[in-house]
């Protein structure tokens, strides 16, 4: 993927099913965030993809036009993530969540990458290497503090597990266009014979950004 013609603009790059949550997003505009990032000389903003799922079977979670998908699929896994460093690109590699727990229980290392950098101060030399997971130049991937403190970061609520996911998993051609030949959709197919339900009593219901901060999934850094 490449974005041409953008020079030193902040770009927010999210999929249609991703909802951007940043510190103070309930009271401050994106403008306030990018102004502050500029003043702090921060050029990229790291997030973690949080897979949201409904209570009950996925195929029953219908989201009609105008409805908030996060209200229909408001649950997420709060604390089963693992982090490692990709030495090549210096980006974090986050895995875990319901997809690893259910689809990749036998092969946890196949668990999808949940690290994303959706908000970037775009320059002519920049490029996305693998979706918004990895960017070049590498310095843009260092969205984290390495000294034990915390830099500002956010979450992307991923409204993937709605009834549309079931249709997608059935469409073999569409699946093959996805990462690694739609590996995770194949797993889902096997699973759909059994009851496909990602919800358990230990699932957490989404409330607001403060909740995600208190769970340690994101941080307001020095932005008070």
């Amino acid at each position: 993927m490449s974005v041409k013609g953008c020079r030193f603009f902040w770009i927010l790059c999210v999929d249609v099913d991703e909802f951007f949550v940043y510190p103070h997003c309930d009271t401050r505009s994106l403008d306030a965030l990018t102004d502050w990032l500029d003043a702090s000389s921060i050029r990229s903003f790291g997030t973690m993809l949080l897979d949201m799922y409904p209570k009950g079977e996925i195929q029953d979670a219908k989201c009609s036009e105008g409805e908030d998908p996060i209200e229909i699929a408001p649950y997420f896994d709060a604390g089963n993530y693992s982090y490692s460093l990709n030495a090549k690109y210096k980006n974090l590699w986050i895995q875990g969540g319901p997809r690893q727990r259910v689809f990749f229980a036998e092969k946890p290392s196949f668990g999808p990458a949940l690290n994303k950098i959706p908000l970037v101060k775009w320059g002519r030399a920049n490029m996305f290497v693998s979706s918004t997971h990895v960017i070049l130049p590498r310095s843009l991937n260092v969205v984290y503090a390495t000294d034990g403190s915390q830099i500002i970061s956010g979450c992307l609520l991923h409204a993937k597990f709605l009834d549309t996911f079931v249709d997608l998993a059935k469409d073999k051609e569409l699946c093959s266009q996805h990462y690694a030949g739609g590996r995770e959709y194949k797993y889902y197919e096997k699973l759909s014979n059994v009851e496909a339900n990602l919800f358990t009593p230990q699932s957490t219901k989404y409330q607001n950004w403060q909740q995600l901060r208190d769970l340690g999934l994101m941080s307001s850094g020095g932005w008070a």
Partner: protein, 566 residues
Amino acid sequence: MTYSVGYVILAHEHLRRVKQLANYLTTTNCPVVIHIDQRTPRTEFNELATALNSNPLVRFTPRRKTEWGCIELVNASLDSVGVMLAEFPKVGHVMLSSGSCLPCKSAQELSDFLSTRQGTDFIESVSVENEEWVQDGLSVERFKMFFPFSWKTQRRLFECTTWIQRKLRINRRRPDNLIPHLGSQWWCLTRETLAKIMNDPRRSAYDRYFSKTWIPDESYFQTLARKHSDRLESRSLTWSKFDADGKPFLLYDDHLDVVGKSTCFMVRKVWPKANKLYQTLLDIDYQAPVVALSAEDTTTNFFNNAHSVRRPERSGKVNPGRFPTGQFAKFDKTARKYTVLMGPRLVFPELQSWISQNTKTLCHGNLFAKDGVDFAEEADTFDGKISNNRLIRNYRASAFLANVIWNRRDVEHAFFFDIGDNQKAHDAIFKDANAHVILIKEAWILHYLKLQKAGADTRSKAKLLHASEQRLNRVIARASTEAYLTVFSLQDIFQNPTVLLRKIQETVSDETVSLVSTPTQEVGLDQLNAVILHLRNEGFKLETDIISSSIGPHGDTGQKPRLVDG
């Protein structure tokens, strides 16, 4: 308005906001002198000038190039003060403010406050020799060296010249032995003091000296006010706080409540697009909540929290904005203290329920068992949706452990870890300063005994177990071991089991409750001795000797901290 306060405003951008501020101040009859940076576009300046030209209480001073931290900022302030004193003879106090300041109490309130304190100067002024006012950067050196280059635009030259001067031990002579003072650049001084500073016969010498110090706007008035003031209160009436990265905290609409409770009269720095904040605070009828002036400034407390987030703290949780590496990764701890019991369960099989009954600690089974994850109360999943899938656990053992502790950081944890478990977690446990490990040396013999009872092939198994024990000892002996270790020998356990039990209870809970019951001991002494003898005859070199049944004076009770044997 009875007592007149004049405002000097220094600004370089967002002139629309400057206009609003000036209009508000003049409506309350306060004269305003404005200085706009020379680099601000001419059109913007003209717009402001035309809008305020007809206002009799507004003056502009000639535009200077006021770069951050340079003497021109002081000169611009001096110019403006000169105009203020000359043109508005009724002004008693002059308040220095920036284009991004806002009054958090009405201008009337400030003038009432100052009218009862006529002759008192309000300026934060801290002696560099006594106090650490500077958060990050040069302090005393600001006054000892020459700073001909800009820190912002000529960083290399700046660093070079300071480095050389440090080597040469440059120590500038201060005119008249002035005692250098530092403080917030936003002050409120009396007409008298300002006039004395302006008309000081030695002023040109002072100006020359300060023009080559670093960030003179934080020291010029702060030092000279000390010379001329009759009564000085060392505090700023303008609230301003720097964040951990050295830039002022920005104020947003959602800070209205916090700002309202400030004990100061003005606040900075306000985000220029904070419409609600501007609307509310610049409303003529705005009344701030009544706050006792002697009260602690809650505004500062509020922002201190943000400070702590940016401090290297070992929170036991990584997130997209926190991933310690190198030295910092080495010392990164889990979220709270926990206990790892290596071996005791082989002696006391019911130890888990015994701990759960006698303490408030959350006691898991063997968290890293080869055949699955044994969470407390045999749960399928733990808080935070950690599954009991052993493959996921083994894939990132240290993340698993850190997550278990973090997700229930409201309680103390304890779990068992025996020689038959997945040994991958060793690294994670022993490098963690929050782990308290209670270890029985050569506990593998007990494990072997268990296997022997079950009728398994013994000789090859014994070799494996022995090798595991040696591996464990190597891990413990590593320099990176931060865990707190208490070691018991098999002899201690069998001769005086209560010592171990008391130690466990002490470690897992803070309270010292007397032992109500003791769990049953599974292994008999005779059995153990038989096995020890058998293993010796098989050619294993054991540390544990045949144990006599009499309870002798127990030697090592495990009280010694960090008893590490390789």
